[in-house]
């Protein structure tokens, strides 16, 4: 059983980040669910990238275009050579979501702060309300979005369901069973049907996280996903939740911490599947 993460370089500790706050090759990016949280105080030097207004198209349900991505990266002083350390609230849901979105555009040097914002604050490390003075860069417009490589669509998930390929449902057990159509502690997000994609395995995202928001060890994660679900190294895996943020957390775990090569995040997730006319649904366990 592995005792190390497959890509340990993808995670940084709070100590490591504290020692690299002024590293010119690093850009720290905060991404949260709480839309005003960054403004209440953030890690010195961190910029804010909003999952909705910065990364998603204004009108249609999709991500921004490559040229808009280049604009977002440039205004935040990022170049293709910049190492980005993502962190945020909710055990890094939105940090991993932003990281995944940056990977969609081919940005390779990405890391996550283990434990995210909560751990940094809990350790009483420095925070500031001062926005960093950023010198804009000129990020080249990516040739394409890597939709085929790390993003799954409805038809892909349907194909996985029909062909009995690995589908990981990372929502809460109540959502998986169809008992509830919203996340616990959250308002209804407009889903007409409850349940899960036929054949999906229920592995809530939280099983991969410790109470302090850090990721579980390589041994623990291997037990959960490799032994528990029986995932094989060459499996073609799709993870989903409601809108793709919790499944980004699991995508990061499978891709970077356990080293599965082919993992995709189905960002349409249950808000697409549970509303779509004619989509097959299973209820119960």
């Amino acid at each position: 059983m592995p005792t190390e993460y497959a890509h340990p370089e993808a995670l940084v500790s709070t100590d490591w980040l504290a020692a690299h706050l002024n590293d010119p090759d690093i850009r720290i990016v905060e991404s949260n669910e709480d839309v005003l949280l960054y403004s209440t105080g953030h890690i010195p030097g961190a910029v804010h990238i909003d999952w909705r207004s910065d990364l998603q198209d204004d009108i249609i349900r999709d991500y921004i275009s490559p040229d808009k991505f280049a604009t977002v990266a440039s205004k935040n002083g990022i170049t293709p050579e910049t190492t980005i350390v993502f962190y945020g609230d909710k055990s890094n849901w939105w940090a991993t979501y932003a990281l995944w979105a940056f990977r969609l555009f081919g940005h390779e040097k990405v890391k996550v702060l283990n434990g995210g914002r909560d751990k940094w604050i809990a350790e009483r490390r420095e925070i500031t309300r001062e926005k960093p003075a950023i010198t804009p860069t000129t990020y080249p417009v990516p040739a394409l979005r890597l939709d085929k490589e790390i993003r799954a669509f409805y038809e892909d998930a349907l194909g996985h369901s029909k062909n009995h390929l690995p589908l990981i449902d990372v929502r809460s057990p109540g959502e998986f069973k169809g008992d509830i159509t919203h996340m616990p502690e959250y308002p209804q997000e407009g889903v007409l049907r409850g349940g899960h994609i036929p054949g999906a395995n229920s592995i809530p995202w939280k099983t991969a996280a410790n109470d302090d928001g850090t990721f579980k060890s390589a041994e623990e994660l291997t037990k959960i996903y490799t032994e528990g679900v029986g995932l094989q190294p060459n499996d073609d895996i799709i993870a989903y939740c409601r809108i793709g943020e919790r499944s980004s957390h699991t995508w990061f775990v499978l891709k970077y911490l356990l080293g599965y090569e082919k993992v995709r995040n189905y960002d349409g997730s249950w808000t697409e599947w549970g509303n779509r006319v004619g989509s097959p649904i299973e209820k119960g366990i």
Partner: protein, 173 residues
Amino acid sequence: MGQSSRLADRKRNLTPLIFSVSQYPPKLSEIIDLFEHLPEEEKRENLIAYADQAKNQAPRDGEIFDLEDIRKDEECTDTVGVFLRVNDQGGAHFRISLGPQVQTLTKAMTAILCKGLEAVPVQEILDVESDFVPKLVGGELVRVRSQTVYYILTRMKSACKVWLNRQRAAAHS
């Protein structure tokens, strides 16, 4: 009469209903007026300033209330306590306690509503429409995931309703 002119007539008839303007209590109205004319960035700064004041709205030692409603609801990320005292003139005074996981917008709304509804008659609070929220917060921040921004007003109204029902029940007994 052609179909297009009939539709135009119907639209004209509906307009007053669709665009009717809500009336808010004076202090809340002042806050709304201030926010409405602020650019997005200043709006956010003011919301943060209000959020910072939310902790001052918690009940203080020795305060006595007519109604206390402390609970953790499904749609909110943490416990919220609503404490209501009604003065001799029927005006409401609120204190609100918030758990640490409550979102910044909810904190801001707590401070805004405690200030804006201070000493407003209980029945008037029940009539306050929530359509002012986007004016305060700005369209961009009102998202599905931020719907708890409406939650505090709902809880304050709920406390007022319970208090009124108790008063009515006491009057009839």
